[in-house]
Symmetry: C2
Subunit: 165 residues, 2 copies
DNA sequence: GAAAATCCTACTGCGCAAGTATGAATTTGA
DNA sequence: TCAAATTCATACTTGCGCAGTAGGATTTTC
């Protein structure tokens, strides 16, 4: 039941880009992201490259380059991103919707474990395939505002700007 | 989001012992279990040994030995068994109830990923910490009976015995 | 043209999952 | 009492995938 570091970092980066974007800073550099999240730069670079190839972010090269979102935030669901990086959500393949594989069980239809894990898979998918980046970003922003915390990656000049109307 | 083979095999064995027990055959040998579930004998042996050390099953050595349940089926929940073999249910440690560890996130309180994963963890735990072996065994038996299938590991002499009153 | 960024590919280290292998200890029945 | 059948204990193997590093190529801006 584990999310890989790779996936964790990727999602954290995605959320950060989303937040920054929402605050009027649509593009972030890998080095900024890595600094804020305290992640290895080159590793994060790789991950973003993968997210780019899958169409979640786009990049600008060269000086003042960086990464920005390639689709609307409310169209980015977490499930597919996690599947991309970590593979199926299901705890065992025989209950995976997206990449089924049969197991050695003699009777899949009457397998108790399978029933149980199907339940688990559905519970996981129900959450991850429904929540969008937009929702998470919004909730996070609201929380930050309520607690009067300023998002770290903003330029000093942009701090202390009211987030909500 | 993966259940290890070790854990899968362990749970399958547990369920089988539960079913057999319910049908009046409280003790099964490793070789029987391995044959029915098509698993490597020695590997399963190891796993059962671990389950024994944790108090889920007990064993009898020597000829006609084998493994049987060490506690009431309705006291065996799946969550703890999985935690024993595979570790925490939570996708990331910062949302684990049983083995928390902080991550590199600069602000755990306002971390969007953490919120999301907390939701996932709770959904998983809600299922796995509630279902008991007794329930899974019962459901399985009902299904088998409805479909008129005879559990494989019964002795020939015991087949065709009505399962339900 | 220099600096600053992304892009690309290869490589590494190493820990762990998934078993194998070997033999000792225990129980039963002949 | 001995042989067979079983669990118990420990050590070993093998391969793979995670979590990065390393180094340089390419693109963009000033
Ligand atoms: S575990 Fe997949 S069918 Fe039993
Ligand atoms: S992922 Fe653990 S606090 Fe952000």
């Amino acid at each position: 039941m584990n999310l890989s570091k790779r996936c964790e970092y990727g999602l954290r980066a995605l959320i950060d880009i989303g937040i920054a974007s929402e605050l009027g800073r649509p593009r972030l550099q890998v080095s900024e992201l890595a600094a804020k999240e305290k992640l290895p730069v080159k590793f994060l670079e790789q991950i973003l490259s993968q997210l780019k190839a899958a169409g979640y972010v786009k990049s600008k090269r060269g000086k003042f380059g960086g990464y920005s979102l390639a689709k609307r935030m409310d169209r980015i669901k977490f499930g597919p991103v996690i599947r991309l990086i970590d593979g199926p959500l299901a705890p065992i393949r025989c209950v995976s919707e997206t990449s089924y594989a049969c197991c050695t069980c003699p009777d899949e239809v009457h397998c108790g474990l399978r029933m149980l894990m199907l339940d688990v898979r559905n519970a996981i998918a129900k959450i991850l395939d429904r929540y969008t980046l937009a929702e998470i970003v919004e909730i996070t922003l609201r929380k930050l505002h309520r607690d009067k915390v300023t998002p770290l990656f903003l330029q000093p000049s942009m701090r202390f700007v009211s987030i909500l109307p």
